[in-house]
Subunit: 483 residues, 2 copies
């Protein structure tokens, strides 16, 4: 029968508990809450369902708004990279060579040069920037694009976390001086901090222990997942002149001499959506931060047969009155109120507005918060004000809760044994670190964990603090399991 679920995938209900089996809970939730569908028969290529895509696009809209405000212009650069361009920067091709998708034919025609699907757009963009940038007057040049990139991941794919078609935004800036590029890195971090805050995602910005030859720095935003594994959600890179020299992005300075541009690039991906789901959700389903919720409030009529018409009319009127004020949805489906409650809780709608016979009698509605479950009678004339207040409260409160929880997921490790124990307990370790990449590599090897990087902003190191190697500690490092 066609009525039965044709899918061989997940059940239609959320049955896993977040605290008992986080991974199963996450996989069930992204399916049953209509975030994505991973049944398309190419591994690592997801279909975004409307609800999931709207959350993603709301996140991208916040990001693009921040980028526009800070002078980044939105562009589009081609998806196909000729092999010779990809090869122009040696370390770049070394990083990506094993995971590039190659286009080799158009129709029956075999190409003389293979085309890569962009694994990231440096090589495409900088080839064009070498034509666009000629003089100091053209600088700084800040561009960005929201698009998809492609990586033939050999590791196990995980929806929204390790896909082969990746949705992201990448920004690229070119500057006349190294100082200006360094400043831009701070701006990049600030932009992402604001975006993570609006998405309610606690973040550690960590400097990579080691960077590519020629590049200056790489800062990566991480968040710890409930299972203790950290997720790198993007990166902010000071490229120095590494690419500008390879791609001849040269400019004439005010004094008439020439120099190569100083470049930065930063990107964040749909992994932010994975973090939103993983961090805020509970056993009932998603909890979407109001700023990025596709539906900020849902109106559910509590229908009793004899007053059905009147109640539906009131609910409809309420929805019409509110529809220009916020993202509202009126659920007039023919099903029980209880089933609707279940459904909208699963989808993480921040506010539920119930309207039943008693509410109508009192000129009021019942407002229910998704995050706390708290119910409140609200007079209809005060409703708009109350909704905005509540959305702000939810936004702030779930972020605060997430920050406090995130703190509990990080624990100081004084030795390798502590790191191992923390991993077993589902925690990320903080360590005192001397700053030597070899020492970080040694910790990794002994603990079978990953040294994420160090917090360059953290000044809490004391003079007497020592790294595990016995040398003086310089930084607070972070080590643990990752995705």
């Amino acid at each position: 029968m066609a009525e039965q679920d044709k899918s061989t995938d997940k059940p239609e209900a959320l049955t896993a508990k977040k605290s008992e089996n986080f991974s199963e809970w996450f996989h069930q939730l992204i399916k049953v809450a209509d975030i994505i569908d991973q049944r398309f028969p190419v591994q690592g290529f997801l279909t975004y369902k409307p609800y999931g895509y709207e959350i993603f696009n709301n996140f991208i809209a916040i990001l693009e708004d921040q980028l526009t405000k800070t002078g980044h212009k939105k562009c589009y650069f081609p998806i196909a990279v000729p092999e010779r361009l990809l090869n122009k920067e040696a370390k770049h091709i070394e990083s990506f060579n094993a995971e590039v998708f190659w286009i080799t034919h158009g129709g029956e025609t075999k190409f003389t040069e293979r085309l890569a699907l962009r694994p990231t757009s440096e090589t495409v963009m900088y080839e064009m920037l070498s034509l666009w940038i000629r003089s100091w007057r053209d600088l700084p040049m800040k561009i960005h694009q929201s698009t998809t990139v492609y990586r033939y991941e050999t590791k196990h794919t995980r929806p929204l976390i390790r896909d082969r078609e990746i949705h992201w935004n990448e920004a690229h800036t070119s500057h006349a001086t190294a100082e200006e590029a360094a400043k831009q890195i701070e701006i990049g971090v600030k932009i992402y901090s604001e975006v993570f805050k609006q998405c309610g995602v606690p973040t550690l910005f960590l400097n990579a222990a080691d960077v590519f030859p020629g590049a200056v720095s790489a800062i990566e935003p991480y968040t710890v997942f409930p299972d203790g594994r950290s997720l790198e959600m993007g990166s902010v890179n000071n490229l120095g002149q590494r690419f500008s020299k390879a791609f001849d992005v040269k400019f004439v300075k005010e004094d008439g001499t020439e120099d190569f541009a100083y470049q930065t690039c930063y990107g964040i991906s749909e992994r932010v959506l994975a973090a939103v789901i993983a961090i805020h959700g509970d056993d009932k389903g998603l909890i979407i931060p109001p700023r990025i919720a596709p539906i900020q409030a849902v109106i559910v009529p509590i229908v009793f047969e004899k007053e059905k018409k009147k109640i539906l009319a009131s609910a409809k009127k309420l929805a019409d009155d509110l529809k220009d004020e916020l993202r509202i949805h009126f659920d007039d489906r023919e099903m029980t109120a209880g089933a609707k409650f279940y459904d909208w809780e699963l989808r993480g709608v921040p506010i539920r507005i119930e309207i039943g016979p008693r509410d109508i009698k009192n000129d009021s509605v019942t407002l229910v918060r998704r995050d706390t479950g708290k119910k409140e009678q609200v007079k209809q004339k005060e409703l708009i004000k109350k909704i905005f207040l509540t959305l702000d409260e939810i936004q702030e409160s779930i972020y605060k809760k997430a920050l406090a929880w995130h703190e509990t997921k990080i624990k100081l490790a004084k030795n390798i044994n502590d790191i191992v124990e923390n991993v077993q307990a589902g925690l990320l370790s903080k360590v005192l670190w001397c700053g030597n990449p070899a020492c970080a590599a040694d910790m990794e090897k002994k603990s079978d964990a990953v040294f994420l990087g160090y917090d360059a902003e953290d000044r809490s190191i004391k003079k007497t603090d020592e790294c595990m190697c016995g040398n003086k500690a310089k930084h607070i490092g972070y080590i643990g399991k990752t995705y």
Copy 2:
């Protein structure tokens, strides 16, 4: 010297005249007005510059707004199509086989099954719809996506007109009955009509003379270019059960029996942007319809040395006052006002606001329309009202002018010789047509032109009207040169 133009492409100024050499004018303009850059070394893969991309995105935003209002949900479906999916519908693969880009390798691994870059998304989407649609309750299902598709065009590529990476939006709907699908086609045409209107593009919606076996109808929106060649900007297709049978998109009806879904799909592409440029532009450059203009008004201070500070401050204040009201730009570059005028006329900004010493004295500004060049003194306190009024006037007036002009590009042809003469005169021919595809093919062969289709809405055929073949005429057909 790096100061010189590294490009070997087009000059930095618009030197061609639209009336003398339309093709050269178009190619120069899309470069110098910063619409696209076609120097990326893969043929048919364009880079969108910020200004051009914003016009494109404003067009897409109008379209998506119309789609949302009519119940279409935005999704994202994967870019890579396994060969066996592409092959599921015979006529579909026949149309696209010669122009599919094939991904054959991931890193060093050769795939056992090649992946096509989507040439269009029917095969990807309908594979998923066969999982999503199970019962009449799931219908109608209306989805859309704004994305890129890939066609290895063997014809000469032309920027924005015939590319190999194509930016577009495609909508796909599934229905329980053929009647509902037919109604949806009307909605699709209405949506596109509204979009073309807001972009100021005159359009003929023509039914294809012939459709694929199994499909019901194909309606294509055309516009005539200044050189007399017609541009197909998209299509609205009633697919019937052609794909639902191939992809098993089946549903259980209310009465318990099963049927395949009745499907429609419609898409329009960046060709609309090409049409906007081609139709409205003049020898000075672009004229962008206000609704899609990235900058709706530009403020140019007319600076005299002794009052420089005062004038710049006034202009800046004006820009700040207006910035929440419309898309405004304050041009404070260090260059002559004349050079700025030239620049913004080239970019087609609808309104220029000049503010100089005399304007300040009179508490006024000088408002200049891009389309007519008309200058007017406007009191500052009346400015906002006047701007909105003028934007509306420009929007309406350039569309009216385009419609009238478009009429002059179409001429009745009574015989083959007329068609040939019309083609030579840069005109599209209207013909009386019997409705027989073979007869249309015959006209094509004899005139070396393309039969675009017929206007199913045009009821002006008289009883005595005859087709060239001597049979009774049923429809007004269109035949001419195309892109």
